[in-house]
Point group: C2
Chain length 111, copies 2
DNA sequence: TGGGCATATGTCCGATGTGACATATACTCG
DNA sequence: CGAGTATATGTCACATCGGACATATGCCCA
């Protein structure tokens, strides 16, 4: 259970990504599950960026490979709300991730 | 690379779930990535059923908990196309899965 | 036999996701 | 400075997802 002082920065981070973090209900009402889901998404988003840049690919190159567009790749990596986990996983698979790699990205304390 | 003899049964299994497995292109054109993605979904689908029944919950009970409907839960567990990974993950989180548990379900040779 | 319960399947339509495009910012190299 | 490249952000039309409902099947028990 994170202590109160961390909430504000987390809220800011999440809202920047476009998440509606308790617009009516207070932020503290954000359930653990919702928070976990978002963390998983961000974790995958970071994995996409890491994989891509370690391959020396531009967002445009990756976009071509997964039949998407540069803007969508940018949003994926930004952890935008408009990107599903499915899409993130597809991107990772396209960059050679194995199920094991994916599991690592999804699991806690992903490096 | 699976040998030819396994393809037919896999195709049958997948099409039963509603997947369009190479309707124009041949089945063999199903990329490894597409196959992996489907396997991950099925793996999560099974995890949902396992978790639910080990809790002694009916599909209806789970549906209530995740604010969904019995039919959707049935489809989730059946690995239906109309269910996203996001939905499966949300269901698992609602049943107390940790990120670690999720990683296990997604990873290869999930028990 | 029939009522009750769990699960499966099909359909509908409102909600959300996604590719594409336009545009903005920022950095590099002449 | 301007041209080229990489990334970010906003918008939109179309596709897919998902909750809800109806209905079907199968099982158990009185």
């Amino acid at each position: 259970m994170p202590q109160r002082s961390t909430h504000k920065s987390r809220k800011a981070r999440l809202e920047k990504r476009g998440w509606t973090v308790g617009n009516t209900r207070e932020f503290l009402a954000l359930s653990e599950d919702e928070a976990t889901l978002i963390e998983i998404r961000l974790s995958l988003a970071e994995a996409v960026r890491r994989r891509r840049s370690s391959r020396g690919w531009s967002q445009l190159q990756l976009a071509k490979h997964i039949e998407s567009s540069q803007s969508r790749v940018a949003k994926m990596e930004a952890g935008d709300v408009s990107c599903s986990i499915d899409l993130l996983v597809r991107a990772l698979l396209a960059m050679g991730c194995s199920r094991k790699d994916l599991a690592r990205s999804i699991g806690p304390r992903a490096a």
